[in-house]
Symmetry: C2
Subunit: 286 residues, 2 copies
Amino acid sequence: MIIGAIEAGGTKFVCGIGNEDGVITERVSIPTTTPEETLAEVAAFFKDKQVDALGVGSFGPVDLDESSSTYGFITSTPKPHWNNFDLVGELKKHFDVPIGFDTDVNAAALGESLWGAAKGLDSCLYMTVGTGIGVGALVEGKLIHGLTHPEMGHIMVRRHEEDSFDGRCPFHGDCLEGLAAGPAIEDRWGKKGQELVDSPKVWELEAYYLAQAIANYVLILSPKKVIVGGGVMKQAQLYPLVREKVKEILGGYVQSEQILEKMDEYIVPPGLGDNAGLAGAIGLVK
Amino acid sequence: MIIGAIEAGGTKFVCGIGNEDGVITERVSIPTTTPEETLAEVAAFFKDKQVDALGVGSFGPVDLDESSSTYGFITSTPKPHWNNFDLVGELKKHFDVPIGFDTDVNAAALGESLWGAAKGLDSCLYMTVGTGIGVGALVEGKLIHGLTHPEMGHIMVRRHEEDSFDGRCPFHGDCLEGLAAGPAIEDRWGKKGQELVDSPKVWELEAYYLAQAIANYVLILSPKKVIVGGGVMKQAQLYPLVREKVKEILGGYVQSEQILEKMDEYIVPPGLGDNAGLAGAIGLVK
Ligand SMILES: Nc1ncnc2c1ncn2[C@@H]1O[C@H](COP(=O)(O)OP(=O)(O)O)[C@@H](O)[C@H]1O
Ligand SMILES: Nc1ncnc2c1ncn2[C@@H]1O[C@H](COP(=O)(O)OP(=O)(O)O)[C@@H](O)[C@H]1O
Ligand SMILES: [Zn+2]
Ligand SMILES: [Zn+2]
């Protein structure tokens, strides 16, 4: 089976060809400009590839309700040109094959559960801390949708007592994303994260917020594995800081070996690295 | 089909007889003393009822992992005598029928989705605000288990600026339950909730905490209905306060008609009233 995979992001569309084992044999990156331009390039890439199916993990918000008239749309994004764009519909015009569709982070969670750090588990969480904070989750073997789809990056967290930064989420100010995504680090400290390697306070605060969020996810979803990636997590010192803080916040309440003794194997980087999203898109249709 | 249902609580075991439509024809309440005493009474009640199956929704924490050697146990409860008690095993000794087992609040969520406020939906949240705060959830048609099971009552919330109460959760101090369950209200104000009807500040604070938690649940689980019950919610003025506050916290980010326009139908009391748990226990085996 030849599977086409698309990781549709706000900066770039990564397109790839793979098979049902998640092996990716080709990949290209197409800049996200206007829907017309970008989709024309996407269509051109897949044109002669004879894909049997197409899996799409997309930036959001998206409509995942198959009974809805706007199923497959990118809905209320502030991104110019992309508001209410019928992504699945546009792909259908070009390719008469089954199309799987979900959020980018749900796809990545699925990819990690099939071939990555959560291989064989029916439950995991995938979190990316980059330009924004996005989280997808597999629960009881299924990706969570629901009323819309989770937007876990925007939960409210308790402020660190030494943090006077206002937060920069346009919707909530100081929600998790507003306080802890890459641009928040840059606004708070006046430098990008990659230039703050030697400032321990930066990573103490960052770990405090990420750990709070992860503790809440653990209490609410009880995932069997927590996978955290994205640009900000290139600061690998964050992993031990986050693990310790999650343990501290949970206070021994969740009586699980994973949390009490094997935290190093519980909160981990993506097993598939930067391929989680693309592999996950394959997983949506395999 | 004759179905036996047990709502195993820390104060009482409610036992009932019902059918696969969730109709309950008999119910008794047995005090929770020691496992020996209580289970003897439970067994006596069901003895001549010729049940075809038994559904049990239990206080926790419980082990829900069917592959575990302690499946069906009440595990690390601080409740004297009940620590590591093999509840399902004990019932099996008396009744050679299929036994369904889950948390009390998961069962209630299921009951509400089958016959109550979330009827016909494949996703809902059931929250009880009483002596503790317990929450169960149905997601994509399944009750969430995972690593252990959710303990959503213990998430961290942001403190209200006028609240100097320490919180009373033995594990976390000022987690949600520590700040907002019935006993926290009593400790903070020196009177039980039922005697504080005319103190608007009490309910403003209470709504602030409950709304924060619900906003987080919505962002993380995207439930199609949020059902809130329990002793504290007898203060019906809480519902509009909580609804308004949830909307405010979400800040227009979750673009769903339910949240933007139909909040009165989105956050609601249990449709089954006090029968949610027992009906849900039936649902576990029907
Ligand atoms: N090595 C690094 N250390 C800290 N922050 C980084 C590092 N690399 C990238 N970032 C931050 O991560 C963000 C970009 O995230 P990334 O995951 O690469 O992209 P996106 O989220 O747009 O897909 C930027 O805010 C950037 O400053
Ligand atoms: N009418 C009421 N108004 C406010 N609080 C109440 C009311 N009735 C009960 N409560 C509080 O709810 C808690 C008991 O919760 P309940 O749901 O009845 O029992 P449980 O959680 O033990 O099953 C107590 O803390 C009590 O003070
Ligand atoms: Zn936000
Ligand atoms: Zn607690």
